[in-house]
Amino acid sequence: MPDIREVLRRVDETPAPDVWDEATRRQAGPMPSPPIRNRLVAGLIALVVAAAGIGVLVTRLGGGESPAPIAPGPGSSGQGSSPGPTPIDVPANDGPPQTARLHGDRLVVEAPEGELEWSMDPASCEIHVRDLAAGKGFASMGGGCRGPYLGVAIAGTTWDGRLLNAVNGSTVPDPGWTVHITLNTGDSFDVVPLDGRFIAVIYACDGDQQVVPTSVTAVDPSGAVRGSVPPYKPLPPPVDPCNRPTPSPSS
């Protein structure tokens, strides 16, 4: 008789649909509650924990330490208030900070085994990856580094001050592939990010080991460096990132 695990693995032949875009677009509903019995048990435990917490608080009152500040991420360079086409360091958790330099109107992040090139105009942002070395590209796919992968986040404010937050990620099959990032407020009004700030978070790859995101940088459409990502902050409400923008007549 076949092993149950083997039998269940037959389902792996079924291709799973990619529902990530759908997840980023939907307005999430409430989390379903566990059964009432579990909630009662959880409530009871919460009461016990709260009582214990009050006890601890009482014993420490007067001698407590202030909470430790959250340290900035490695390589945080704090260029948020230093506009201008100067080289900036970007965080790198697995090595020395990478450097981003402005070349004309393009921001180039000099990455370990390749180069990530940005070009921007008021209506679009293009990210061009080139010179990816085999096995050492920007990668984060399917639990390992099976292929170059670029995780890109892009955010900004619109010409009329509205927030814009679009996040995209695309597989980069070959050097020379271009990823088009487009922005939309989600209300079907196409906008131009005149006051936009842009960031890229890149998942690096070293052999089979996936490493943590390594670089964060920001530049506005004029080419000025505006800052780096402040890590560990809550997520703003999701906004539809789908449609490619066209220049607004108001811009």
């Binding site: 008789m1 792996d12 529902v19 997840a23 379903p32 404010t157 902050k233 809550p234």
Partner: protein, 160 residues
């Protein structure tokens, strides 16, 4: 004004989690429910809810799995109420081995299916599988034992 960069790290971490776990999660929900449409919705909704909560989630992997399992269970409960638990027509795009597998699992109760799928397919220990379904480890052990017995007898009958 809210910082437009806020939460980007957690968003990307969730995307990475999706790339790592999404397909396996979708297949696990498919095995539990027998319905690709429910699997689509449960996985998308679980990640949508995780995205909305951002850094407030301390253990995204466990959180998203739990959300997907519970959303799927809730949907199946609704479908059972409506008498439409089994899809009106067999999904055409599923490979034959998967369809046969779903037919096999259909003879188990929902909790037995959850136990066997979470433990044997998703690789969760009993205690964690129980946490995902809102059950207890002893109850999950009973479901798993009964599921195993049923599955073995069905597989033996198929072999014979």
């Amino acid at each position: 004004m809210t910082d437009p960069f806020a939460g980007v790290e957690s968003h990307l971490a969730l995307e990475r989690l999706y790339r790592e776990e999404g397909a396996r999660m979708w297949r696990a929900v498919l095995l539990m429910t027998g319905r690709p449409d429910v699997a689509d919705d449960a996985v998308a909704e679980a990640f949508a809810q995780a995205l909305a909560r951002g850094d407030a989630i301390r253990q995204p992997r466990a959180w998203v799995w739990k959300a997907a399992v519970r959303i799927a269970a809730g949907q199946m409960k609704e479908l059972r109420k409506q008498g439409s638990e089994v899809p009106p027509e067999r999904p055409a795009d599923l490979p034959t081995p998967t369809v046969e597998l779903l037919d096999l699992l259909r003879d188990l109760s929902p909790m037995q299916r959850a136990a066997v799928v979470l433990h044997y397919y998703a690789g969760y220990p009993l205690r964690d599988a129980a946490a995902l379904t809102g059950s207890t480890a002893p109850a999950m052990a009973v479901h798993l034992r009964r599921a195993r017995t049923k599955l073995r007898s069905m597989l033996e009958a198929d072999d014979a």
